[in-house]
Subunit: 767 residues, 2 copies
């Protein structure tokens, strides 16, 4: 496989592994500047309240305190930000919407003094009634958070075909209600920033572990009312995980920037683990009511869904998650009639936001569970039912009813491979439980609110033939920079160690929309390939003069440029040096290449139609479980994920993504309790790793990745995104396997022993 | 003048003025990194000696000392560097060549400990005989420094026409011997660096106030045997003067880089003022014997010169200074027959190197003094003699006998203007003394050893229409970045404050040969103009779609893009935003422009023929003096410098250059004693500002700049270089004025009261 490549498609360790394991990698918490102050937030102890009075006098008089910021300061000096209008988010708020919402901020000479000062700030609150449940929030008479009707922010819809006709045509109709939890990203690296404003030049330099320095730069400029040429955003040398949690600009970014601007000193703000759970972002909990209509032969003809998203206190990315998630509702299946209504609903909880999967795990859990219900009720093998409805290779390119243009699809192969690996035919008849689920996922999305997505990259060839690659995208730990180095080295035929990646800094690296939705290796990867190809053409021009042949007759391999018949060659070092220092091949000058990948996808229209992704990846997950009926405990005895990611650029990294995504999906499906709130006070009950359990190695089965590489013909390297697929199918596959094992179906994630015992009891009571 | 421009050609304060006057600008001495060590050199107390034994044991045992480096360490771990082969310079030497030469280095937790450790290093030297005078060094039996014949390193020559025939043709021949001192650059910012090696990634980041981070990167990579993609050179935010003194890579760069590499910790090394005088660089002292042959009517027909350059202990840039200086020997005059021999000669003094003027002040002092001698002896007015021989506007383009292609020349106008300003006709007959001198100077030079010179720059338009300009060139205090911002703002029709310059960092800014020879505003300025023009074309393409007109019918002014008839417009902000975020005008993407200026000049051949400069600037300096015959004290009562710099891009900066250059020329001519050595020990007698006097405001006359703008038709902005012209003519004009005042001629710079008194006495004795 990938035999035309020397470096791409191999098992290559991440280039930053050594600095991470030896502890030399600098995360945001490790950064420091001379004269730096430390800042902390005072957070609301109430889920819903109005700040009536703040007295900061005592705090300001504490020695070492340099500034106490109130909501009035913030509202008078900054603009609100948010991904869609109306923008709601200030760094501090006069009306707090959840326990942990930001009320005041202190900058002091050290963290202890800042903490001490927080305790000296006197705040008088007028308590408002909170609402914690989204369905209650939609009910008449519920407390109103933002004055939008029934607490609903921008409902989203899909209207494809005629769903009423579809259900009329259906010979079988199945319905279910499914719910998914408020999962925490649980990055090892807590959020934070370091902001340094130069009051003489008026320039702000702001280090923050952003998944997109481009968006952060625009948000900071907007919030602080500064021109973009005065705002420099830099990603710290290392970022310890993103998963969507670092895809936004946060209260701490704005507060630190504003305080640095007011004080003319660097201000650092790093959140604690508790703050991370209480006041950053999480996955949107969904309540999905879904109805599926099928013909007798198993053909799906209609799908109707009503979804309620729990948005938390401010809207953030909710409308975007709703749109993107809706696009994945039909899955990899050919469904002609689709009707979806999605209601993003405010509650007095922390903000839900971007999270690996971005709406897809929630809708996939519903669909794949419901498909198994249908299969069981109709007496069709769940595998056969899926194979019947999925897009087939012979049909490509295939435009789905919702407008997705599928140019490559390994879905069928994924299903066959996991069925084989899990022993589908034999085990369906045995006493263990097996289940499976299918997934379609994007390789990047283009959304209506922005309607653009690009990545640009730059390659500079040094006169010794070594290479600098500049990218404005962030490596958040997934290994992006390793893959970019592979792509550049491959294109120019040089060893990997000759490539250095220069990472995200808005002053000095080319703009890039950043790292979301499994797209960086497509968008930034393509930009790097294009940049390297341009540099190669320039080297070929010089080499052509040196070798006295047409540049078109040259190829680059193993550090040399060869005449195609391999008769003669020059080293890339010789060519790069000649280009730099002599007039061979034209006027002397440095060898550069620039690549801009501008995504050709189009946002969905108001009815949910549109080819809004660069490419589509597919996956099938198969799970074997043993369930102890006495304790309700589920043990996964086998876990296979077959992922059609298109070209796998680095086997280590792609398999690592599958391992990590599967672990997160298993966490979502059966281990991680939602971020949990006290029903009355709205306090978070589990704001630590002791109380909020993420899966550890001991909790996880042996995860078997199977790579299917259905190459996308329109992506330069044929890759389609590998970061999310294996997460999305895990929970429904587990639910389906549990049903197969013990005949009870859990529709409310996570599937805990308590829920299983309760369901088993209900089943016994029913029978 | 310059009415076609909005921003270019105006009086614009330097953009970094505020940060300099408020003290927030960070120079290399202000920089710090966590865990940083401080390093110091042990320097030779002897002018010439061999290190027989070094015992570092006691120093190594001093608490706080982390490393003591010896010549053996350095020679085994690094390669020697130097601008031309054979390369001679290591960070430490086994055989020391001057008092102050580097023998050992210590890295310790603070400067005091490092200093203390130096005193504990025991060195046993074998003393060798020193030679301090270059003529003695050329004599048989002199001590040999590098084993080259008669201590001469690469003699250089000019052979144009037939000089013997020329002198045969001459009706008058005049001869003189002239000498110039070892002038110190005397930058306010002493040399230093901060080097940080990451032992996990193998990457070195090195901050150093280099005039060329490009050359420094190559030198560091060569010295430390590292690939270029692992060497990052960054200029500190502020540099306090260069004048050529920071145009090289120094022992401290290599030593700090090596120590950081060995220790895996940042190492900082900043020289003291004493070290600055003893062990950095200086102007090459010249001894010039020159002979001039003229026809009866004043036409110059032959010039013969023999020059000896005092190179100091290692060659450094000597052959390059020799070559470049030789090209200026004929000045702005049409001289058909030229013979020059230049001998770079080693002595046991600190290294002479690049210095503003780069050989030109030395040869111009000789020529312009000798011309006055000729004028006086032949009874021709010195002004008329110069006017007769100089290149005239009507002759352009004019190729000189040495191959210089002069496309614009304001020499004649400069002469007329200074003559008028100084009151030439009236004052020649009065009792005050007046004198003048003519200058030709380069706007950048291309040398045989490199045969390339380019600058590249990048412009990025932010979606709010503000601009980042990236340059790999350094602003050494002269205001380059202000001029680059003007050029970009002018080209794009936006206000200056919308432009931010991102300065020299080899990881992130486009390669540039750096800042030498009055060229940056030509080379980098042209590159920025080209980059901005490319970005403008891209904006026009988008604006053309928005306005539905041909992009060729658009122009950019005052932040808008107008249809040429001014009927309609869009703001640049709207266009930049549209380009970024929508598909208007093609696929969405960031708006960039890149410019590469590759100098079309050609190095001189072995006979000194070649158009080796981008452009030629001209100047005339006129001086009025009063000489007190009792004390020998000279008072300059009037100083006029008319400089044809081509287009003056910023009047503040160009006039500032003329003021600064004139001050330095006056220092050279009559104030600054040479860096002076004890004849026997080779100790520097004046290594401080108390002993080495640079001119202060109180020493200086009112300097009147007159700008002549003879536009160069082949430089994009028509500019020709303004950094050196006013320096070169000052000393000969002063010498000529003193002769005019009191009838004695001083040929040995600086012209001190003691020399005048001695000459007056000799004159009285003679008569």
């Amino acid at each position: 496989m990938n035999s035309q490549f020397e470096i791409i498609g191999k098992r290559i360790p991440q280039l930053d592994s050594m600095s991470k394991v030896t502890g030399t990698a600098a995360y945001i918490a490790d950064m420091a500047l001379p004269g730096m102050l430390h800042a902390k937030f005072l957070r609301s102890p109430y889920a819903h309240a109005r700040v009536v009075r703040i007295d900061t006098g005592k705090a300001e008089r504490l020695p070492g305190v340099k500034l106490v910021l109130t909501p009035d300061d913030v509202i008078s000096k900054t603009n609100p930000i948010g991904p869609t209008a109306p923008k709601q988010q200030y760094a501090l708020h006069r009306e707090v919407k959840y326990v942990g919402d930001e009320v005041a901020a202190v900058a002091a000479v050290d963290e202890e003094t800042a903490e001490e000062a927080l305790a000296l700030i006197e705040v008088e609150y007028e308590l408002l009634p909170p609402v914690l449940d989204p369905e209650e929030a939609m009910a008449p008479g519920a407390p109103q958070l933002h004055g939008e009707t029934r607490n609903i922010r921008e409902p989203q819809k899909v209207r494809i075909g005629n769903v009423d006709d579809g259900f009329k045509e259906s010979e079988h109709v199945f319905k279910g209600r499914f719910s998914t939890p408020k999962q925490a990203h649980a990055c090892m690296d807590t959020h934070g920033c370091l902001s340094s404003y130069d009051s003489v030049t008026g320039k702000l330099t702001h280090w923050t572990p952003a998944q997109s320095i481009l968006y952060t730069r625009m948000a900071m400029a907007e919030a602080l009312n500064m021109p973009l040429n005065k705002v420099r955003i830099v990603a710290p040398p290392a970022i310890g995980g993103g998963f969507g949690s670092k895809a936004r600009t946060f209260a701490y970014d704005i507060a630190a920037g504003l305080m640095s601007k007011m004080l003319g000193r660097p201000v650092k703000m790093v959140l604690s683990r508790e703050e991370e759970f209480m006041a950053t972002r999480s996955r949107h909990p969904y309540i999905v009511e879904e109805e599926l209509g099928l013909k007798e032969d198993g053909t799906i003809v209609a799908l109707r869904q009503r979804a309620i998203m729990d948005v938390g206190g401010y809207s953030d990315t909710a409308p975007l998650v709703a749109q993107c998630g809706q696009g994945m509702v039909p899955g990899p299946y050919k469904i002609p009639n689709i009707w979806v209504d999605t209601y993003p609903v405010y509650t007095n909880k922390s903000i839900s936001g971007s999270f690996r999967g971005f709406g897809n795990p929630q809708v996939t859990f519903a669909r794949e569970s419901l498909l198994d219900i249908a299969a069981q009720k109709m007496g069709i093998d769940p595998l056969e039912l899926r194979l019947k409805n999925t897009i087939k290779p012979g049909e490509l390119p295939y435009t789905t009813s919702t407008g997705l243009i599928v140019r490559s699809c390994g879905m069928e192969e994924c299903l066959h491979r996991v069925a084989e690996a899990i022993g589908w035919k034999e085990k369906r008849k045995s006493c263990t439980g097996i289940g499976l689920a299918c997934v379609i996922n994007w390789g990047g999305v283009k959304i209506r609110a922005v309607n653009a997505e690009f990545a640009s990259a730059e390659v500079e060839v040094a006169p010794d033939g070594s290479l600098l690659v500049r990218t404005g995208n962030s490596d958040i730990g997934q290994g992006l920079y390793t893959v970019l180095a592979q792509i550049a080295a491959e294109e120019l035929g040089i060893p990997l160690e000759k490539v250095t990646i220069i990472g995200a800094d808005s002053d000095s690296t080319p703009p890039d929309f950043g790292c979301f939705g499994s797209k960086s290796a497509i968008t930034t990867g393509s930009a790097v390939k294009m940049a390297a190809a341009e540099a190669k053409q320039k080297l070929f021009k010089v080499a052509g003069n040196m070798l006295e042949v047409d540049p078109g007759d040259l190829e680059a391999r193993a550090g040399k440029i060869y005449v195609r018949d391999m008769s003669r060659s020059v080293t890339i070092k010789e060519v790069a040096g000649a280009a730099y220092f002599s007039a061979v091949g034209g006027a002397a000058g440095p060898v550069f290449g620039r690549g801009v990948w501008s995504s050709p996808s189009v946002p969905q229209n108001e009815d949910g139609y549109g080819n809004y992704c660069n490419a589509y990846a597919f996956a099938a997950t198969a799970v074997e479980v043993e369930v102890d009926p006495e304790t309700g405990r589920v043990k996964i005895t086998k876990f296979v994920s077959a992922d059609d990611v298109g070209r796998a650029l680095n086997l280590n990294i792609v398999e690592g993504q599958i391992h990590g995504a599967a672990a997160m999906g298993i966490g979502l499906g059966m281990i991680e309790e939602s971020i949990a709130y006290n029903d009355h006070s709205g306090n978070v009950r589990n704001p630590s790793f002791l109380e909020y359990r993420v899966p550890t190695a001991l909790d996880l089965p042996d995860i078997q990745p199977v790579l299917i590489e259905a190459i996308d013909p329109e992506i330069p390297l044929g890759n389609k995104g590998a970061g999310e697929t294996a997460l999305v199918g895990a929970a429904p596959a587990i639910a389906n396997a549990i049903f197969d094992a013990i005949g009870v179906r859990i529709t409310d994630l996570p599937i805990t022993p308590a829920k299983i015992l309760r369901a088993l009891k209900e089943k016994r009571d029913d029978s």
